[in-house]
Amino acid sequence: MAVVNEKSSLHDICTAAIGLFAAIMLIASPWVVDSTGPVPFYKGPLIFPLITLTCMLVFSIPSLFKLFFKRDTADYTLDQEGFPKKAIIILTFLILFICGIMGIGLEFSVFIFISVSLYFLGFRTLKTVIFLPVITVFLIWFLFKFLLEVWFQTPYIFQLFME
């Protein structure tokens, strides 16, 4: 596990972001919570969310102060691993994979996702780019479609041909 710089300002940014989110939710609560139910207040649906949001806001205040008033000493390095380029690209592939399930179907999208991801991660042999994805496709098909009988909608591309 990489050693994390505990004094990194990224911790403060994250804390402040949560605090900001809590503040927005706190302000928006009367509009996004239907509180027309029973009185008194403690029986209503607002009391608990308000307590938790207030706690979040209170505990994020020191970080907000640090971010605004100690900008000159800010350090934005988190660990030795640098910018998470690989994680972001794989996450993008994953999001495309989900869209792919609806667009081109489960089997094709699993194959493309695994083979492209492994190729990107540097595993560029025939075994990893072709055979491994094929085996995974078969396993996923067997587990989810054959064994569990999970329903997947007809892919859009097939719907086009059917029409």
Binding site: V32, D34, F41, K43, T128
Partner: protein, 502 residues
């Protein structure tokens, strides 16, 4: 007490249950051995498959992964100084020096005996303590439940007191997330923003799958490939003569088992703390404390017995009060509730056969894990050579489809994606993600009990302290909060007085 045992024995030894136990334990050992994956990822991957199973089979499978993971974690810790599960780090303190001296067999035997005995001791404690606590918990009303739940929340926060702000923030975030959806008491919509699927609330399954199945695997793709060339095991199996030698530390085994169980039942402390305290206690009471850290089998025995006692310990608050102490038992709670079984004081009287089957299954898991590792040590150790980034990509694909399969819902997949991104950020920054999961699970219980209690007390919060159990729990919680600070102050004073004396 034992009247339901014949039925439980029949259920535990049924072919389906045995298959679930063996496969769960096998998978648990495999994911435990792989550094960075661990039992949590293993459990969330198989979670979608358990929904079509009978509750006892589903629980056996998941418990197999849960307990098996702790068994497996010691192997890379001893052979490569790379813990498979975080708590096995303590095992590596003595395990790796033994390996360097060519005594890997001795270290692995000690760790395996420690895991086995820790597991068995904790199940025996679970068996008796759960009955006692259930009897006690039947007298609980809403204020008592709230007090215990709140104490649990405080303990979770205290376990991350080194970074109190982060711990509180994630816990409160989890508690707030539990309020999203339709409020069960007033049937009013909360924070749904007009999105229809959000009215059902955030399901714990996609959240856990996202946080650990996607978040953790995104971390793995960033990780450098592990150097596993140093693994050298001459024998395929463990040497049984060395296994017997490890039993000579029976006092350490019992003490560590008890410490692990006690820490397991306290929410938030987890296996690392159990392993560390067991190790420290073994070192303190040992005849050769100077050997600790240089390579003594007793260190491996203590650390492993401590961490393997945690799963059964964590089951105690879950089964008796319906309060999960960690993320893994929160997942188990999800399996219970999906099957219409609600953990709490009435569970032992309503489902006695299931609970006794659960105890027996946990015993069997320990036996199976012990035998599997003892007989197939070398093949299991070679699993470390599998490249984790290849596995990470496959886990991501299976997890994503698994999330969809639970409710055939794209909304769940979107929830898991968001949880995955948050999980990656928090895990990378080493924030206590467990607090978030515990918050989501405990939030519903806490809110319900708080509002019921306030209704009883007509809004007067101070009336909580007029009832004996909430008052006792509040005092104990207060002491637990103050204790570390007082200890710190005493140590500081000691240091100052020492300096002045010099």
């Amino acid at each position: 007490m034992f009247e339901y045992m014949p039925e439980a024995i029949a259920a535990a030894f049924s072919v389906a249950n045995l298959i679930a136990l063996v496969s769960g334990t096998f998978l648990g050992i495999v994911v435990g051995i792989m550094p960075g994956i661990g039992p949590m990822v293993g459990m969330v991957i198989i979670l979608p498959f358990t929904f079509s199973m009978a509750p006892n089979i589903a629980l056996s499978l998941l418990l197999g992964v849960y307990c098996g993971g702790y068994f497996g974690g010691a192997v890379p810790a001893i052979l490569m100084r790379t813990p498979g599960v975080p708590s096995s780090l303590i095992t590596s303190f003595d395990g790796f020096p033994l390996t360097q001296r060519g005594k890997a067999q001795t270290a692995l035997s000690a760790a395996l005996v420690g895991s086995f005995c820790g597991g068995i001791i904790s199940i025996i404690i679970l068996f008796f303590l759960a009955r006692f606590l259930t009897h006690f918990a039947t007298k609980f009303g809403s204020p008592e439940y709230f007090a215990v739940g709140f104490a649990g929340v405080v303990l979770v926060v205290m376990s991350s007191r080194k970074h109190l702000t982060r711990g509180v923030l994630l816990l409160c975030f989890g508690l707030w997330l539990s309020t999203v959806g339709i409020d069960s008491l007033t049937i009013s919509s909360r924070y749904c923003f007009g999105i229809l699927p959000m009215q059902a609330g955030l399901n714990i399954v996609p959240v856990c799958l996202g946080l650990f199945g996607i978040g953790q695997t995104l971390l793995l793709v960033e990780r450098k490939i592990l150097k596993s060339g140093q693994i050298q095991l001459t024998q395929r199996t463990l040497d049984f003569s060395k296994l017997i030698v490890a039993f000579k530390y029976w006092k350490t085994l019992i003490k560590s088992g008890v410490i692990g169980t006690v820490l397991g039942l306290l929410p938030g402390f987890g296996s690392i703390m159990a392993s560390f305290l067991s190790y420290q206690e073994a070192k303190r009471s040992s005849d050769n404390p100077e050997q600790f850290g240089k390579g003594t089998p007793e260190g491996c025995v203590a650390a492993e017995a401590g961490n393997n006692a945690v799963p059964a310990g964590a089951m105690i608050p879950l089964l008796t009060l319906g309060i999960p102490g960690d993320a893994l038992s929160a997942v188990l709670m999800g399996v219970f509730t999906i099957n219409g079984i609600y953990p709490g004081p009435l569970l032992l009287t309503k489902e006695p056969v299931l609970i006794n089957t659960l105890y027996l299954s946990m015993m069997l898991i320990n036996i199976f894990a012990f035998l599997m590792l003892a007989l197939w040590l070398r093949p299991f150790a070679m699993i470390v050579k599998i490249k984790t980034s290849i596995l990470a990509v496959m886990i991501m694909a299976v997890s994503t489809i698994g999330i969809y399969a639970v409710n055939t819902s794209i909304f769940d997949v979107c929830v898991a994606m968001t949880a995955g991104i948050l999980g990656y950020i928090f895990l990378r920054m080493q924030w206590p993600v467990v607090n978030l999961v515990v918050g989501i699970v405990l939030g519903t219980i806490l809110e319900e009990k708080l509002r019921e209690s306030l209704s009883i007390f007509e809004g007067n919060f101070l009336l909580f302290f007029t009832r004996p159990i909430p008052l006792a729990v509040a005092i104990m919680t207060g002491l637990l909060i103050i204790f570390p600070f007082v200890m710190k102050l005493i140590q500081k004073n000691k240091k100052i007085s020492n300096i002045l004396n010099i």
